[in-house]
């Protein structure tokens, strides 16, 4: 296990470069992101360990980062002061572009992996914003009316944007359809409990158990292989997968084992069933959902399997990411313990 100290800064996000196998970025903030500055670290994995050739300081906390899919040297930072900043590794100290449109903390940023020419942000101000890096103003604002912790583009479609919010729903927007009263919203899927369907209305599935109450959803991720599957997780400690072909059928898989809120999840780029999760319980866990898909005959969700746990972090784990290159299984994690850890997920499988 390799490590890098982000001394004075508590980690919030980590991302491997999609271009260069030895490059990792970490987004971090002073004082646990409550007050103070933020910092973006651009790190190099070398035979001498992890080196830090570049870092960028920001006025306010950095809560999320995203590498440009179009330019190997550029990356975005989502900041506490409502700004999104684009940095270029060849330009020292200052961002090469900045957007100041959100009125509250920007909590996630995601670059379109299909067309590679735009990116989306989500904020506590209850909106998503879509930007083209070449343009000074955002292209589109999508309301969620709820503190939005996480947003992504579908890795399979250039026009489908997902978001999860504190109101315990997944929102799916399709920006190809005409803007109407629904503001491109195509699905509003409750996370906490299934809507009644023919499949589950007359069954004895969970006859006594209380329907799970709504709880804030903090993170989600699209499966890289199964285009209709995405996973969510948050305050209720349960990781769920949903199949968008059956948006009203409720969760396909439940993965439960974290003892506090789940802060970040990420599907493997190599295996269609593997999912990594980082939690306030200070652990990173590796799961398999068994490749479960929605099935009309299904009356209860599948239970995913916990494959292993990494317990080296000593504070809340806030960021996890998979390396796209090399031998499959290398991951990075960051936490409030001011450390980036780079390790092989295969070593924790029990």
């Amino acid at each position: 296990m390799l490590q890098f100290q982000t001394t004075g800064f508590n980690g919030y996000a980590v991302k491997y470069s999609p271009y260069i196998d030895s490059r990792i970025a970490v987004g971090a903030a002073q004082n646990f992101g409550l007050v103070g500055n933020g910092r973006v670290y651009v790190l190099e994995l070398t035979s001498q360990g992890i080196l830090c050739p570049k870092f960028y300081d920001t006025q306010d906390a950095v809560y999320d980062i995203a590498w440009s899919e179009a330019n190997e040297n550029q990356l975005l930072a989502a900041c506490g002061d409502g700004t999104v900043k684009l940095f270029d590794v060849n330009v020292a100290h200052q961002p090469i572009a900045q957007w100041s449109e959100h009125s509250r903390e920007v909590y996630s940023v995601f670059w379109n992996q299909v067309t590679k020419d735009n990116f989306v942000t989500s904020s506590w101000d209850g909106t998503l914003k879509l930007y083209n890096p070449e343009r000074a103003q955002s292209l589109l604002t999508l309301p969620t009316h709820s503190c939005t912790y996480s947003t992504e583009f579908s890795p399979h479609s250039p026009s489908i944007i997902s978001a999860v919010t504190s109101d315990s729903h997944i929102r799916i927007f399709d920006i190809r359809i005409p803007a109407s009263a629904a503001n491109h919203l195509v699905h509003l899927i409750p996370i906490h409990g299934p809507a009644p369907t023919l499949a589950n209305i007359n069954t004895r599935a969970n006859p006594l158990g209380p329907r799970p109450p709504p709880s804030e959803c903090l993170t989600h991720d699209w499966n890289k292989y199964r285009g209709t599957i995405l996973a969510t997780a948050g305050v209720d400690q349960i990781i769920r997968t949903f199949d968008l072909r059956a948006p009203r059928a409720g969760a396909v898989t439940l993965m439960s084992g974290h003892r506090y809120a789940v802060r970040r999840i990420s599907w493997s780029p190599h295996n269609s069933d593997l999912l990594l999760s980082g939690s306030y319980d200070m652990s990173v866990k590796l799961w398999s959902d068994g490749n479960a898909m929605s099935d009309a005959s299904m009356v209860t969700p599948n239970l995913g399997r916990e494959l292993g746990e990494m317990g080296a972090h000593t504070e809340f784990v806030t960021g996890v990411d998979w390396c796209l290159f090399g031998s499959q299984g290398w991951v990075a994690s960051t936490a409030w313990d001011q450390r980036l850890l780079v390790w092989d997920a295969r070593t924790i499988i029990t």
């Binding site: 409550l34 007050v35 006594l208 799970p212 709880s215 804030e216 305050v235 809120a261 306030y280």
Partner: protein, 420 residues
Amino acid sequence: MSAAQGRLSSVMGHLSPATSGKSQLLQKSPDDIVITFAARTPLTKAKKGGLKDTRIDELLISLLTEVRERSKIDPNLVEDVCLGNVLAPAQGYVARCSVLAAGFPIGTAASVTNRFCSSGLLAVQNIANQIVAGSIDVGIAIGAESMSTCPDDGAPSWMSEKIIKHPIAGQNTQSMGQTSENVAGDFGVTREMMDKFAARSYQRAEKAQKEGWVADEIIPIKVKVTDPKTGVVEEKIIKGDDGVRAGTTAESLSKIRAAFPQWAPSATTGGNASQLTDGAAALLLMKRSRALELGQPIVGKFCGATVVGLEPRIMGIGPSYAIPKILGKLGLRIEDVDVFEINEAFASMGVYCVDKLGLNPDKVNPRGGAIALGHPLGCTGARQVVTALSELRRTDKRIAITSMCVGTGMGMAGVFVSEH
């Protein structure tokens, strides 16, 4: 709110989610069913104690009068009174007539409910359900039993042959004492364990009495008592419980002879079983929104109750099924509960339930139970709620479960939150 405070409260919200069963339970909503008054009469020994000459109607009138006066509720607002009672003849007459005689207006209805030892809790649930359903806004649940004046003759002698020959239903010809021996025999509960359990009940009840904790539960009531020697009838104010034998130890209980030598293992005695007792307890219920409107002080909240069935021959272990069931329904964990009031019908079932559920003995019947205080059948379910709320108040805790085994093979459990 500054940005830093906003961010801090956001993180705090992630850590102490309002989604655990406990935090959900402790949230206050206008539609909650709240208790604005809860009290009981003293519990006194049947045939010997201060209430021995008080018939059920007189007991009800005394308590309901006190409830009406002390709660300061406008009696015109009380729409229904549900009486939990097991033994009294002419219950229907007794209930409505006593309500009217206690100073409630002609518009106050009454009903009777009977599920044996859970009747008092069932009365609470019935009134709460009526309020939830919108049938009424304000109601009183009362549990009362005069075991001095109403004999408990057990199962009737005339039951159908189809019942007698039925493998499960037929078990109901067994007496309650026999079911206690069945539990002791089936689950290896020894006489020593039972005496130890019973002694703890006595010692806790004695302590609660000496420290004055129970004064918080009890309303002294004025009744007529006939002196057994002279036959003179006197009016007396009955103030305290009389079942508690001071200085009881497991050692002293071990000397008492078996009550049921005819049924092995004959571990049950007069010292480790509940006493025959007279008493009553009452609770005033309404929605939180109504309580706030009326300025009624909110004492606690009724969160729900449930019932289970099991083999009649081991009916005593009902709480070991009922408690997990209600915990599951409310999404609570056993360690979320601060006080368990489990009716001590017999020490055999008490020992079994505490052990089976893995309860912390310090949380179970902290003021003693029916072994020390007595078990007026219909009263107990309501009495335990009064006791639990008082104990939560004293110790500044929140969540209580009351549970009891029920004759003919059932168990009931209810969850209450103190809002002191």
